[in-house]
């Protein structure tokens, strides 16, 4: 086992080809499950699989060891066919302790593979997890193929001579589990070994220890007579191109870098740390060699305020936050819309209300985004449909902000922000530019004179001679921008601001209908539910049902052809991770008796859930 090569001394066992596999790694918050899952995902991506991930971790950084509160999980579906979701239910569950087993077993498919770190299955840990009888002995695992392996002890033995402390050795057991999974799915170890060497470059003994644990796991699979077969998931036939694996938050940050180039503007991100949005700041702050600047403010009010100040200065102001942060920002968003400056607000939605479920996903901020301010205060709202789509959505939202001189809210959510999928890299020179036209001509300048088409006012950079002007939150004269309390002027301005946002719909491309253009049921979705809806609708269509789907990127204004499309179907069903927010908007706007499928559990839809809920509407 000490061979430097990772080539196996044992002949390979018979290998079975699978189309798609869903694995879930789960353990204590300190067990490194997010790291293990991410690394398995990375290796699968490099092997050419299509995939999606679902990290699921507690809000507490380190809840008491061994308790249900501290369980952290990472699920990945990888496939040789297109993948739309992280998978409904894992076929393989790796459980590092009893608490992880207890909170995840219900999801494992009957007959699925269960790998247990028996070393952590002690009476003390059973007690902490609240087990009253031993699940290993009471028959509760009889429906699964259980592999009970003392990963703790095997890792300790393998690393005994390394000189690492007991604590350091304990922390390497996730690499044993990863090694075993790499072997089981016929993956090479080299990419992971290389990664460990880079990650622990400053502590080579830790790198070596982790590598040893990884190999120990890999060779354990190979040597132990426990596993009868290994599996191969062939590369997926994705469209030709160069790919990388990306999370929604990374894609959002890279989108902002791209905007700085495409708009020829400095992107100024004013933000305040908040789960699950902070990674946007972490990623963007690395790229100071582009025309981007990140500012960590004292609170969300200052974050969006600084972004708006930057917008006044002629830059693209951006803020990234989650629902509670948006609640604090709304007054400033109202100011931005009345002074008519471009501003991008990215809301990575999480479970609410209040602090709610910081690490879990939800789509319950749609009405907050559209209606959550005082007065008549229209703001364009967009939603991203998946991790990679966050890149395109940021470009589109920024384009609208600049073209129409308005704040724009972009909704993503915890699921796609942290989840990963392969992203076909765009060709940079083919991305459309959208440079703003700053006004420099002082002749006949009126602060609120408007572009006849978009109704956007001219953007003037301070520093431009002869165009000194004042803006503010008080109602202003429709042309000069001077403070005005005139009743007719106020009504005109309220209507003009509404009309400006409504006109965005004039330039939206037609909606595409997934499936036939008319039929019995139209499934209308938005945001991160895209993959699950598409897969469920495909399944039902394959069974012969007249069901189609439309997925919305533009939530406000709604696309102009939506009403007509809704009319072509007998029933409209709107699945949402809330109590029916889009449903309410659609009913109010189109007088259509739209039905809803609602889930508020902090988790994305499963395809199977959608299928059975949609079957109710199909006879």
């Amino acid at each position: 086992m000490e061979s430097a090569s990772t080539k196996s001394p044992h002949p390979p066992r018979k290998s079975r080809e699978l189309t798609a596999v869903t694995i879930r790694f789960c353990g204590d918050s300190g067990d490194g499950m997010q790291f293990t899952g991410s690394e398995f995902t990375r290796v699968s991506a490099l092997a050419g699989n299509d995939l999606q991930t679902l990290p699921d971790y507690p809000a507490e950084i380190r809840a008491p060891v061994g308790t249900l509160a501290g369980v952290s999980g990472f699920q990945v579906q990888f496939s040789s066919a297109p993948v739309f979701t992280p998978g409904d239910a894992p076929q393989v569950l790796v459980a590092m302790n009893p608490a992880a087993l207890k909170s995840n077993l219900a999801d494992l498919v009957r007959g699925g593979t269960l790998i247990i770190n028996s070393g952590a299955f002690t009476q003390q840990n059973y007690d902490k997890a609240g087990y009253t009888s031993n699940p290993m002995e009471d028959g509760s695992l009889s429906a699964f193929r259980v592999h009970s392996i003392d990963i703790s002890k095997l890792t300790a033995t393998a690393l005994a001579e390394t000189g690492l402390s007991a604590r350091e050795i304990g922390r390497a057991k996730n690499m044993f589990a990863l090694g075993l999974m790499l072997w089981m799915y016929s993956r090479p170890m080299e990419p992971t070994i290389k990664f460990l060497q880079q990650k622990f470059a400053k502590t080579p003994d830790i790198a070596a220890g982790n590598e040893k644990a990884l190999k120990a796991g890999y060779y354990f699979g190979e040597t132990a007579e426990m596993f009868v077969e290994t599996f191969v998931v062939a590369p997926a036939k994705l469209p030709p191109g160069t790919y990388r694996s990306i999370s929604g938050n990374e894609a959002t940050a890279l989108g902002l870098v791209a905007v700085s180039e495409l708009a020829g503007l400095k992107v100024f991100l004013g933000t305040y740390p908040i789960t699950p949005a902070s990674d946007i700041l972490h990623e963007l702050s690395k790229h100071r060699n582009f025309n981007v600047f990140t500012f960590q403010a004292e609170d969300e009010i200052a974050a969006v305020g600084a972004a708006l100040g930057a917008a006044f200065g002629g830059n693209l102001g951006v803020t990234s936050t989650s629902g509670p942060g948006v609640a604090l920002m709304q007054e400033t968003i109202g100011l931005a819309l009345t002074v008519e400056l471009p501003l991008l607000i990215v809301n990575v939605q999480r479970g609410g209300p209040s602090t709610g479920l910081p690490t879990k996903t939800e789509q319950a901020d749609l009405l907050q985004a559209i209606h959550g301010r005082n007065g008549e205060s229209p703001v364009p709202v967009l939603a991203a449909s998946g991790p990679a789509d966050c890149f395109d959505a940021v470009l589109e939202a920024s384009r609208i902000a600049i073209r129409y001189m308005t704040p724009v809210i972009l909704l993503t959510d915890g699921f796609i922000a942290n989840g990963q999928e392969p992203w076909m890299l765009p060709e940079v020179d083919k991305l459309a530019h959208f440079e703003p036209k700053f006004r420099t001509d002082p002749k006949d300048y009126k602060v609120y004179a408007r572009d006849p088409k978009t109704l956007g006012r001219a953007w003037v950079r301070p520093g431009t001679p002869g165009l000194e002007h004042r803006i503010g939150g008080l109602e202003k004269h429709s042309l000069t921008g001077n403070v005005s309390y005139d009743p007719d002027n106020h009504e005109l301005m309220v209507k003009t601001r509404a009309e400006k946002v409504a006109r965005i719909a004039d330039e939206l491309p037609p909606l595409s209908v997934f499936g036939a253009p008319k039929g019995d049921v139209l499934v209308l979705g938005w945001g991160s539910t895209c993959g699950a809806i598409q897969q469920a609708v495909q399944h039902l269509r394959d069974k012969g049902h007249a069901i189609s789907a439309v997925h919305l990127r533009h939530m406000n204004p709604l696309p102009k052809d939506l009403g007509e499309i809704l009319g072509r179907f007998k029933t409209v069903v709107i699945p949402e991770l809330n109590l029916g927010q889009l449903q309410m908007l659609v009913r109010a706007r189109y007088l259509v008796d739209a039905q809803g499928i609602h889930k508020i559990k902090g988790k994305p839809f499963r395809v199977s859930e959608l299928i059975s809920a949609l079957e109710e509407y199909l006879s």
């Binding site: 490099l46 030709p240 100071r288």
Partner: protein, 334 residues
């Protein structure tokens, strides 16, 4: 515009076409006049100057200045101005605020702008009352103040704005009053010249809701005996040089110069504790200090930001979007 034309700018060039709408007799008029008078001598083209304000009587200020201006929302001017200055270091950015705006609803942004040493010129019009909402107690109203919101007197102790600014790490802290335009002009000039956050408290009279609140020591006939003018390098004396202040055990102590006691020579760069001690002096036991409490150099926010940007650029080279997107592990499907 050429340099020569700019040099000819006058006070009038800084007056906007808007009618000033403060109450007749409001102290804000004096401040506006002095600021407009100061502007031409700064030698900065007016298009490179921006006034940012929050909400309150004072915050209408930008509308009357013919520069770039942004009348924002209650308390947030320092945050919005920080974003403006950080993204546009080439502009001179002024913040106009009041005691309610800066110290109550905007307290957080106020202290954070100061601790970051953002190059903002912050003018706080302190009239110890909420004027625009018609007369409620403010965070600088004296204990026991009877106002519309506190008919039996406020039970909330006031902030000392100078202490607050010093505690937040402000690099320039000064005080003046609307009753003394000459002194105000000098303080405004110092505020404009300072590099970093400059905080000027202007004792300002609200003629309608809190008239004459500072009159007992700012009135022309009282100043000499009730105010002490802090001047760098000069002894702290007042009342025609007959009285003075010195520090004993960290506290200000009154002295009669005739007794032979030596007044403290004021040093704007001295340990901050001296400024704290001076800012604790109030009538009737002490004279009210006006002038510069503190003026020190500390790295300015946008300078640090520029240095960091240059260092990163040197380390990473100019950004290449195509390369950035392809960074890390990629694979190709043909």
């Amino acid at each position: 515009m050429t340099e020569t034309v700019q040099a000819k700018l006058t006070r009038k060039d800084f007056q906007s076409d808007q009618e000033v709408r403060w109450c007749p007799g409001c102290g804000d008029y004096v401040i506006l006049a002095q600021v407009q008078k100061l502007m031409p001598e700064l030698g900065i083209p007016k298009e490179n100057i921006a006034f940012v304000s929050g909400i309150g009587c004072s915050s209408r200020f930008p509308y009357y200045m013919n520069t770039y201006g942004f009348h924002t929302i209650h308390g947030r001017a320092p945050a919005i101005a920080t974003g403006l200055k950080a993204s546009r270091p080439d502009l001179q950015v002024w913040v106009v605020t009041g005691d309610g705006d800066a110290l109550s609803i905007g307290g957080n942004h106020f202290i954070h702008a100061l601790r970051r040493n953002v190059d903002l010129k912050i003018l706080l019009f302190n009239n110890r009352i909420y004027g625009l909402t018609k007369g409620q107690a403010s965070p600088t109203s004296e204990l026991g103040k009877k106002a519309k919101s506190t008919p039996y007197g406020t039970i909330d102790a006031p902030f000392n704005p100078i202490h607050l600014a010093l505690g937040a790490g402000a690099t320039f802290v000064a005080r003046t009053s609307d009753a003394d335009p000459v002194h105000m002009m000098e303080m405004l000039r110092r505020t404009a010249q300072h590099k970093g956050s400059a905080f000027l408290e202007i004792l300002q009279n609200c003629v309608v809701f809190n008239d004459a609140t500072f009159e007992s020591f700012t009135a022309k006939d009282q100043r000499e005996s009730k105010q002490i003018y802090m001047q760098h390098g000069k002894p702290l004396t007042y009342a025609g040089g007959t009285k003075g202040l010195r520090l004993t055990d960290g506290h200000a102590e009154l002295l009669e110069t005739a007794s032979g006691a030596t007044p403290l020579t004021w040093n704007e760069q001295a340990d901050v504790s001296a400024a704290f001690a001076l800012a604790s002096c109030h009538t009737p036991d002490f004279p009210e200090p006006v002038g510069v409490f503190r003026a020190v150099d500390r790295p300015v926010h946008h300078t640090l930001q520029e240095m960091q940007g240059e260092a990163v650029l040197k380390k990473l080279g100019p950004g290449n979007l195509s390369k950035l997107l392809k960074a890390g592990d990629t694979w190709t499907i043909s």
